[in-house]
Each structure stands twice: as structure tokens, then as C-alpha cells.
């Protein structure tokens, strides 16, 4: 029975006028779809009652449709090259990042002219975006059965750390699957929604999400009916997969298997390790039965304590990002109201202990940690499609890295600082550097460092048609806009003439979470160095501008206003500054600028006098005195 809300006069909702919306958790190892039924979010099972769809796609020869889910996962061992798993790790990444991944994986990659990596399969080259689209299509089909038609809109969750290109690639995958993406939602934010923290009291909450392949920690603040993500941190190469690998390696060593397992045997070992891991969440000890390649069985056992010792450092590694996120959020641990656990790996008792110890309180586990994200996405989708018109719940996310542009001297000017809530619009005025400059090249950057070369280049574009003016007179407003999906558009507008240029930043696929993190760490580690660099660059710019101005003045008036000795002095000081400015000695450059200033003071005075004389010349004194003759 549907629960009703009081409507305005004459506005009672028509029954069955609801629009079909679904929430999708597109995970590294598993994916789920959920929808709101009778005001309650529910995950949608397949015909066999399974809710989790393994994020595995198997491609078949001769144009047969790809197989997704359990059947594909079952075929991993027999058909490893055509069975793609964990493609989320690659979505939105460039081919340049492949060597590291390729070394660790058993896949074969197709050569192509695109920078997007493609798996070589019997169905031809397949990109991670296409494989993700297959998973989304399977989920949408499942949802259609429950909704009574294809979903009109979906909310897809992504890790909080996904950058622009990874988000864009996810949207592309949805488009290929024929889905209308209402919005991308950060996974931890979705979890908080599922727990109904939006109906609770105001407070600051932590969401600890240890999934199959990624770890995310987010600090959310809920105030006045609005969720705001205060900070996010994580480790994109840490999850249940690593736990499985650790356990598999242990079993392999115990069973005396060599290092050179073929693809199939390796997969089998991982599947076994996974089952043992899951068993150890409920049992203190598990028996292991492994069929060796030779055919005979190996029997072993492992206790929970042994298992915990094996993985203790993996769990410990989640705590540093937790510390970072709490610090970034600017809160003390005891200010946290609730802690939520998300992701199948949080079923491991050791994880729960570690989290409880770190945050000093028991975490919420009431909602199935595998489903909680999809449930939250479904609630959000229901609101966005318009089924709850009166709902004022707004979800705010943050941008993971600062966005800015390059300014003279190879410096980065931040326009939107990191952890700004999105959607966000920020504008800043810039000007021209040279007289008569009619074009401005804009270089859009992402990152925390001071120098352009240390940050990531997102896009370049040009603003042309600036009216010629003296340096510094033009006013160019650069506007950065980040929409609710975290996608950036940048526009530049010259204020006097109104010429405008803009760019949608669909960045070349390619910045990994590891990079985002290492960029953050680097910014901290290099804070002092960066500051020094910035000062040096700015000093050099000042030196260049002084020299340029003086050289121009000398060419014009040097002969006329200075004697030979004075000219030699100035030329000498100029040469010294020019020489020193190639180096990095700040004090020396500063000294040379001052010296040049000193020797050219007399020149500046004479030019000033000369300018005044010129202004007056041709006019009789009488003109100024009022006397008519002369």
C-alpha cells in the first residue's frame, strides 16, 4: 500500500502517473540495479533471484550477443581472454597507463589509433566503455521487467574519486546502452541517502566503502536538508580483489604450486580464495580443497586469525586516507555523528574492528553493504525523475582536484579550489601581458601544484579578437563552470567588446585515481618548493618586464637624452640582469633589478621632463597665461 502525503488543493497525484526511474551501482566486481516501489527502494533480482550481477562480460565469436554476469564469470577460467572483468578499473583511462595494468592482468590489448585501450577479443577490439555498456544494458533490461518498461532515467553511482574523464566515460557507456543518465552520484553519498541520514538530525557522517577494487572514504555534512561532501580520499587499488589475491598466494604457497599458473588455473585459485574469505566472515576456521593441475586434491585449512594476519596491512592501508579525509574536512573525530560501512569487503570482521577502533564508534551495517549504494541511487533517481516533486533534498558533491588556468611564467592560477561543492561557477578577471595583444591562449589545468608542468593539462583554447590595447588594460573574464555531474566548461569573455570563446572540457581519457592521489600528496610534499618556485617565476617576470620597457625606451630616447657614460652604465646593468635572470638566484636577480632601477632613474626623470616639455611645446606660454601675443 502506497503511503500518501498531503497535497495542495486540487493537486493530489494521479495514480500510476509515476515515471520509471532506476538507480544503478556500476561496480568493479558486482553491479546492481534498484528502483523505488511503493515509496521504498528495492534492489531488483534476476529471474533466479540473484541481486548481484557480476561485472563480467564475455564476448563470443560470430556476432553472438555478449554474455553478462554469472554465466560470464563461470566462463572466466575456460575463456579468459574474451571474458572481461573489473573493466571499471580501466574506464576513462588512456592507453599510456596500460603498461602497468597489462603487466598485472592476463588480457591482451588490441593496437588502435584511439588513446582508449581496447581488449582484443573474438568479437573484435572492445573498449572498457563498451564492456561497461553491456553491463548497464543487462541491468536496464532487468529493471524494465519490474518497472513495466525501460527506465526513463537512471542515476549511476561512481567512486567519489572519479575524475572528469572517468565520469564522462561512464556517461558514454550509459549512452551506448541507450540509457538517459539523470545524474552521476558519488557512491558514498548514495549510501548516506539509503540510510536516510537526510531525515536524521544535522551532523557530520563518515562513509567507509571497501569494495571489490576500490576504497573510498567520504566525510559528509548534513545541514538544513542538504548533503554536502566535505572531503573524500581513498585508494583506487585496494579492495576485496587484493584480499583474494593475498589469500590465493598463500594457498598457492601452502599447496606447493609453482608461480607459473596458466590463466585458467589462476582464475580458479582466485575463485577458491574468494569463497574461503567469505566463509571466514562467519566461521573461525575453513577447510580448503584444491584440485591440482596433476589431478590429485590438496587439502588444507586456515583459521580466521591466520587470515587476519595475512591481510592486516591491507586493512591498515585504509586508515591513512581516513585520517586525510577527516583532516581535509576540518573536523575532529569526535564530531562525527554516524559511520556507515559500504562494500562487500566490510563484512570481514577485521575491517569492522579496525573501523570501530579508528572512529571510536560502531559503524552502521543494518543495510546490506552490497546493496546500500544502489538503494540510495534509486531514491535519488526517483526524486530526479519527478516522482517526489515536493522533495527538497539536494545532493552536493565536491571536485576532487583544483581547477585553474595557466598564467604568464608557467604558473597555475586556481579558479575553483579543490573540495568546492558542485555545481559551482567561479569567475576571475585576467588581462593582457603585452601592448596590442589581440589573442589570449587559455590552458585549463587540474591539480594542486604551483607550476603548470606539475599539474594535469585538461584543455587549451584561444580567445581571439581582443581589441588592441596597452598591456594590462584589457579585461578578460574567465568563467569556470562545473555541473552536477562534475563536468567542466570554461569560457573567456573580453569585457569591452564582448568577444567570447568557450570550451567543454571532455578531457582526454586518462587520469587515474592513483594519480589524483599522488598529485595531492605531491602538493603537500612540495609545498615549500612550490612556493619558492612561484616567487622565483614572478621575480623573473618582473625582471623581464622591466628590461623590455627599458629597452624600448632606450631605442626611442637613449641617444637623445643620455650621454655615452650613462648609456654604458645602463647597458651594463641590463646585461647583468639579463644574465642573472637565466639562473635561479633570487637574491642576485632582485639585486640586479634594483641596480638597473638605480642607474636608469636619471633616464626616467629626463624622459618624464621631456614628455612634459613635448606636451607644452608648440604652445606659447601666452596660451597658458592668457596673453595673446608672442
Amino acid at each position: 500500500m502506497t503511503l500518501l502525503q498531503i497535497s495542495e488543493p486540487g493537486r493530489s497525484p494521479e495514480p500510476h502517473a509515476r515515471r520509471r526511474a532506476a538507480g544503478i551501482d556500476l561496480g568493479t566486481t558486482h553491479s546492481l540495479v534498484a528502483t523505488v516501489v511503493d515509496g521504498r527502494p528495492e534492489t531488483i533480482p534476476d529471474a533466479d533471484g540473484r541481486v548481484l550481477l557480476p561485472s563480467v562480460v564475455r564476448y563470443l565469436a560470430d556476432g553472438a550477443p555478449a554474455v553478462v554476469g554469472d554465466a560470464a564469470r563461470a566462463a572466466q577460467a575456460e575463456d579468459p581472454l574474451n571474458t572481461l572483468a573489473s573493466v571499471k578499473r580501466l574506464i576513462g583511462r588512456s592507453i599510456d597507463e596500460l603498461p602497468e595494468f597489462a603487466n598485472r592482468s592476463h588480457y591482451e590489448f588490441a593496437a588502435g589509433d584511439s588513446i582508449m585501450p581496447k581488449f582484443a577479443t573474438v568479437a573484435g577490439p572492445i573498449s572498457p566503455v563498451q564492456a561497461s555498456a553491456e553491463i548497464l544494458r543487462a541491468l536496464a533490461l532487468r529493471a524494465a521487467g519490474t518497472l513495466g518498461g525501460a527506465p526513463e532515467g537512471v542515476v549511476i553511482t561512481v567512486p567519489a574519486y572519479f575524475d572528469d574523464s572517468q565520469r564522462q566515460a561512464t556517461i558514454d557507456a550509459a549512452r551506448i546502452a541507450g540509457l538517459n543518465v539523470l545524474r552521476l552520484l558519488n557512491e558514498p553519498t548514495a549510501a548516506a541517502v539509503a540510510y536516510g541520514l537526510d531525515r536524521g538530525t544535522e551532523g557530520v557522517h563518515a562513509v567507509y566503502d571497501l569494495g571489490g577494487g576500490t576504497f573510498d572514504i567520504s566525510i559528509l555534512r548534513f545541514t538544513k536538508g542538504v548533503f554536502e561532501v566535505l572531503s573524500t580520499a581513498g585508494d583506487s587499488a585496494l579492495g576485496g580483489d587484493d584480499v583474494d589475491a593475498r589469500l590465493a598466494a598463500w594457498i598457492r604457497a601452502q599447496a606447493g604450486l609453482g608461480d607459473n599458473l596458466d590463466h585458467g588455473a589462476h582464475r580458479q585459485l582466485l575463485v577458491l580464495a574468494r569463497a574461503i574469505k567469505e566463509g571466514l566472515s562467519d566461521h573461525a576456521e575453513m577447510e580448503i580443497t584444491l584440485s591440482r593441475p596433476s589431478g590429485e586434491n590438496w587439502l588444507g585449512r586456515i583459521t580466521r586469525a591466520q587470515f587476519e594476519e595475512l591481510i592486516a596491512d591491507l586493512i591498515e592501508r585504509t586508515l591513512a586516507p581516513c585520517r586525510q579525509a577527516v583532516k581535509d574536512a576540518g573536523i575532529a573525530l569526535d564530531e562525527l555523528t554516524e559511520v556507515i560501512l559500504v562494500g562487500g569487503s566490510t563484512r570481514i570482521p577485521l575491517v569492522r574492528e579496525a573501523v570501530a577502533k579508528f572512529f571510536g564508534r560502531e559503524a552502521h551495517v543494518e543495510i546490506d553493504p552490497d546493496r546500500v549504494v544502489a538503494l540510495g541511487a534509486a531514491i535519488q533517481a526517483d526524486i530526479l525523475i519527478g516522482n517526489k516533486p515536493d522533495s527538497d533534498m539536494l545532493l552536493l558533491d565536491v571536485i576532487p582536484l583544483s581547477l585553474g588556468i595557466e598564467t604568464m611564467g608557467g604558473l597555475t592560477e586556481k579558479i575553483i579550489p579543490r573540495n568546492t561543492t558542485i555545481p559551482a561557477v567561479r569567475a576571475q578577471d585576467f588581462t593582457t601581458y603585452k601592448d596590442g595583444q589581440t589573442a589570449l591562449s587559455l590552458h585549463v589545468l587540474q591539480g594542486e601544484r604551483e607550476l603548470v608542468r606539475d599539474n594535469r593539462s585538461l584543455a587549451r583554447f584561444e580567445l581571439r579578437g581582443i581589441p588592441p590595447m596597452v598591456a594590462g588594460a584589457a579585461r578578460i573574464r574567465v568563467t569556470f563552470q562545473v555541473d552536477a555531474d562534475g563536468l567542466l566548461s570554461v569560457s573567456a569573455r573580453e569585457q569591452t567588446q564582448g568577444v567570447e570563446s568557450r570550451i567543454e572540457v571532455k578531457p582526454s581519457y586518462g587520469l587515474s585515481d592513483e594519480e589524483v592521489e599522488s598529485m595531492l600528496t605531491a602538493a603537500m610534499d612540495h609545498a615549500h618548493e612550490d612556493m619558492d618556485q612561484r616567487r622565483l617565476r614572478e621575480l623573473k617576470l618582473e625582471a623581464n618586464q622591466t628590461m623590455e620597457a627599458l629597452t624600448a625606451a632606450l631605442a626611442k630616447d637613449g641617444e637623445r637624452l643620455l650621454d655615452a657614460g650613462e648609456r654604458t652604465d645602463i647597458a651594463g646593468a641590463l646585461a647583468r640582469l639579463h644574465g642573472l635572470n637565466q639562473g635561479a638566484d633570487e637574491t642576485a636577480i632582485r639585486g640586479a633589478i634594483d641596480e638597473l632601477d638605480r642607474v636608469s632613474t636619471v633616464f626616467a626623470q629626463r624622459r618624464m621632463d621631456d614628455a612634459i616639455r613635448n606636451a607644452l611645446s608648440g604652445h606659447g606660454v601666452a596660451e597658458f597665461s592668457g596673453d595673446q601675443d608672442a
Partner: protein, 107 residues
């Protein structure tokens, strides 16, 4: 002919009317629509119509048009929480069937 309200429904209706700041009271009714015929109306009202029957429950004015009242006689309006969702529920003895999604019913 009678309609009743549970204490929690009374509390929530009063809260709603207070926060809205204006309104004469609550309108209950049925309208024809949906897969098995009828759907409930739950609205605030600003003016009563000449066809309305008006009840007073715990100081709340409840307006029901005469036609709807036939279908609603004996109904208790309740306010419940189910899982993550909460809202009003018509406990209507006249209701014979409701469709799968529970948004419409028949008598």
C-alpha cells in the same frame, strides 16, 4: 457516516497545517482513476464547497464531498512509517481490492 484519525495522523496533520501557515483543514476524498478504479485524495483545503460534509476531529476540520463519503465511511486515517518511507494511510473498510502497486483500489 464517520471518519476517524489516529493520534499520529492528528499530530502530523496539525504539524503540516501549522507549517503551511494557512488553510481551512484537510480534504479527504476519492477520485476515479487508475487500474482498479479509485484513488484517494489527500489535500489541504482553503475553502469548503457546498457539497462538502465537514467534520471536526481534535480541532482539525476535515472536508469530504458527499459522493466520496459513501466510499470513505468508516475510514481511519493513519500515519505510519514503513522502512525508510513514512506517510498517510487510509484504513478503509469499504476497500475490496487494490492494484498491485497500491495506488488505486475498488469497493
Amino acid at each position: 457516516m464517520a471518519i476517524t484519525m489516529s493520534p499520529s495522523a492528528v499530530r502530523h496533520v496539525k504539524g503540516f497545517l501549522e507549517s503551511r501557515g494557512k488553510g481551512g483543514g484537510l480534504r479527504l476524498g476519492v477520485k476515479t482513476s487508475g487500474c482498479s478504479g479509485l484513488a484517494y485524495v489527500l489535500e489541504v483545503f482553503d475553502e469548503v464547497d457546498k457539497n462538502d460534509e465537514v467534520f471536526d476531529i481534535e480541532g482539525i476540520k476535515i472536508a469530504v464531498d458527499r459522493k466520496s463519503l459513501i466510499y470513505l465511511d468508516g475510514t481511519e486515517l493513519d500515519y505510519v512509517r514503513e522502512g525508510l518511507n513514512e506517510g498517510f494511510k487510509f484504513k478503509n473498510p469499504n476497500e475490496k481490492n487494490s492494484c498491485g502497486c497500491g495506488e488505486s483500489f475498488s469497493v
